[in-house]
């Protein structure tokens, strides 16, 4: 009986492909737009995620994100080290500077100074060179996206820059997720960074903390706040702060929300129309089935099977399209680090189920009311 339903569905190839296209298109729209939306938002947290070993970030109470930070006096480091439960704490400086390139151009860069002794604060992986190059004088490590912006079509290794009248030599490329603004990032030692960034009185932007017990980072961060009067955020909290900053300060959520809603509406419209047209066309067949004694429950199951097949094919092709899109653009520096969160295909699956359920239910109402005699009309 289910097989008959499937044959019935695929009998009219135009309508069938119309249905599949509608579902595939709205899946693609929802999945792809949500993916880009989430990844753009997470650009706000990339500064936090690039540092792979810190459980807690400690900062001035007015600091908000990795890029919007107010510097603290250098003794804040020792205050944090004195809190029980802190396994280690290292200084971390983030500041903006202007760099003069060899061509004489001015480029805004973010200078990140990592702890001199341990290099905690560098991204986990390097594209070229090793983190040890920072022990050589005047060394900086550039991030890979910055490379494409500042040195298109050439290797930046060995290039000299001028930062605050100081010499800086690029000796490595780090594998880092770019920030929301895709600023060129130069990693260097804390002591070098102090020279590269024009001086203000206090320089220490963050203290990175490793917890004795990483699972209890939340309680430790509360204790640090209580004992030092500074603001302490766990890695996850601080990543969320970065995302929230983008949500609060840009129109991205609204724009993408509209696109996702459009995807849903287009899906409902195309699929709903085609599906109800298809059911109406086949009302005679349903009537005949009823005439030979097929129950309403069976007909419901038949329509569900039809909807299921359309959903499966459409959803599969839509997700495949998104995956193809993301993987095709993954080498583009703009899309560096983009990934499809596993929750998003599930959200679009729910959306597809909603579209099909809604339209199927609407179309079924007429079928269920059909009398077996309809076959003779």
């Amino acid at each position: 009986m289910i097989w008959i339903a499937i044959r019935m569905l695929t009998g009219d190839a135009q309508k069938f492909f119309g249905l599949v296209f509608g579902i595939a298109f709205s899946t693609l729209l929802i999945t792809q737009q949500l993916t880009i939306f989430v990844n753009l938002l997470e650009r706000g947290a990339s500064g936090v995620y690039n540092v792979s070993s810190a459980d807690i970030w400690v900062m001035d109470p007015v600091s908000r994100t990795t890029d919007v930070a107010y510097a603290m006096p250098s003794t804040a480091l020792d205050k944090v080290r004195g809190v029980p439960g802190v396994e280690w704490a290292v200084p971390h400086i983030r500041a903006n500077a202007s760099v003069r390139t060899k061509d004489g151009d001015l480029e805004g860069v973010a200078v990140i100074g990592v702890d001199d002794a341990t290099l905690i604060g560098l991204p986990k992986n390097m594209v070229e060179g090793s983190a040890d190059v920072l022990s050589r004088p005047d060394s900086v490590i550039i991030d890979d996206v910055g490379t494409t912006r500042m040195f298109p079509d050439q290797s930046p290794i060995g290039e000299r820059l001028e930062l605050n009248d100081q010499r800086a030599v690029i000796r490595g490329i780090a594998d880092a997720i770019p920030s929301f603004t895709s600023t060129v990032v130069l990693y260097t030692k804390y002591s070098n960074a102090l020279n590269y960034v024009p001086g203000t009185r206090n320089r220490l932007s963050f203290v990175l903390v490793g917890a004795e017990d990483p699972a209890a980072a939340k309680t430790l961060s509360e204790r640090i706040e209580r004992e030092t009067g500074l603001k302490a955020q766990t890695r996850e909290e601080f990543a969320r702060d970065g995302v929230q900053f983008i949500i609060d300060n840009t129109g991205i959520p609204l724009n993408f929300g509209i696109t996702v809603a459009l995807g849903f509406i287009v899906g409902v419209a195309i699929v709903g129309l085609t599906f109800s047209l298809f059911i109406r066309d086949n009302i005679k067949q349903f009537g005949a089935l009823k005439a030979i004694g097929v129950t309403n429950g069976k007909i419901r199951r038949m329509v569900a099977a039809q909807a299921g097949l359309v959903g499966l094919i459409g959803y599969g092709l839509g997700v495949l399209g998104t995956v193809g899109f993301i993987s095709a653009f993954s080498s583009d520096p703009t899309f560096k680090g983009f990934y499809i969160p596993w929750q998003i295909p599930i959200i679009s699956l729910v959306a597809v189920a909603l579209i099909l359920g809604l339209t199927g239910w609407l179309a079924l109402r007429s079928v269920l009311k059909t009398e077996p005699a309809a076959v003779f009309r």
């Binding site: 003794t75 020792d78 029980p84 001199d116 890695r235 459409g314 599969g316 092709l317 495949l320 995956v323």
Partner: protein, 330 residues
């Protein structure tokens, strides 16, 4: 529903198959493409609180290794050209050992002048003595003559005058000798001051002058001290504690100290004293424009002998991280 190649339908069989395979591939891609956000341990050991203090109240500070005598910056009392440097960095010297000498030719010339003046004064004394002897004998002769007609009164007065003048000349010559001797002694003192000696026993840490350079009493070029030395047995560390943390520190307890870059090599340092004066934090960034508003309590600890010396991990001037137990208040 037997599958038959001939009756294989594109819409009913191949398309669903493509969709299922596509879903599986997509699931694989999505799950393998999740970002790596695992926390990782740092590659290099950061300074950690010692086991005993891991979950205890504690105070942390950073500081600098210094000699137990503190750093002695040797100066020069007189200016001039350096004629010899007799120590090298790393050398151990005893108190009073010559460190370097400054050109003393001019002072030696003055000494020779003074010595010649001494000889001259001695000759003058001898001459004055013989003149005085002659004059006093002459006077005695005149006085011994009783006949007033034999010696005139004026002859006697002249002889008396000559005798007293000779005595005065002798006194003058003696005074000249004293003056010349004083000049010679002062030249010798100057020569002594041109030889700069070690004020204490200790180790030479830096030598910033070379033979032929000019030393002035105002300090060396670039305000570098000429020679830096200090007693490095034992060595001390001077730990800066934020003034807000200062009341919590348990003074008298040993501190756990590790050098920068070798955080796993922690040693116990025994308490020496806390400086009575709370000072503005001396910045370690060497930036001239830096101002400070943070004050620190400086606490001094003594490093164990095993961690210092030629094979030790601590060197003078090195930065260290320290953990000190806090006072048990609760």
């Amino acid at each position: 529903m037997a599958l038959d190649i001939k009756s294989l339908s594109f819409t009913r069989q191949i398309l669903p198959l493509i969709a299922v395979i596509g879903l599986v591939l997509a699931a694989f891609y999505i799950l393998s493409g999740q970002p790596d956000r695992e926390l990782s341990d740092p590659d290099r050991e950061p300074p950690r609180a010692p086991e005993a203090l891991a979950n205890e109240a504690r105070v942390a500070g950073s500081g600098v290794v210094e000699p137990s005598s503190e750093l002695v910056q040797i100066g020069s009392a007189l200016s001039g050209l350096v004629t010899g440097v007799f120590v090298q960095p790393g050398e151990r010297v005893s108190e009073g050992q010559t460190l370097f000498t400054v050109d003393d030719r001019q002072v030696r010339a003055q000494l020779r002048e003074a010595e010649a003046a001494i000889g001259e004064a001695r000759a003058a004394i001898a001459e004055a003595q013989s003149a005085e002897a002659t004059a006093s004998r002459q006077l005695a002769l005149y006085r011994s003559v009783d006949d007033p007609a034999a010696v005139s009164r004026s002859e006697v007065i002249r002889a008396e005058g000559e005798a007293s003048a000779a005595a005065e000349r002798l006194r003058l010559a003696r005074a000249r000798l004293d003056a010349a001797q004083a000049r010679a002694a002062s030249a010798r003192t100057e020569i002594g001051r041109l030889t700069i000696r070690a004020p204490i026993a200790g180790e030479i840490l830096a030598v910033n002058i070379r033979k032929g350079e000019y030393v002035s009493t105002m300090g060396g070029g670039g305000s570098q001290p000429f020679i830096e030395m200090g007693q490095t047995q034992p060595m001390h560390v001077r730990i800066d504690i934020d003034e807000e943390q200062a009341p919590r520190i348990a003074l008298g307890q040993p501190a756990t100290v590790s050098p920068r870059g070798a955080a796993e090599q922690q040693v116990k340092a025994s308490f020496v004293r806390a400086e009575p004066l709370v000072v503005p934090k001396r910045s370690l960034t060497n930036s001239a424009a830096e101002r400070v508003d943070v004050r620190v309590l400086q606490v001094i600890y003594e490093l164990p002998a095993s961690a210092t010396g030629d094979t030790g991990i601590f060197r003078v001037g090195q930065q260290v991280d320290a953990y000190i137990p806090a006072r048990q208040s609760k």
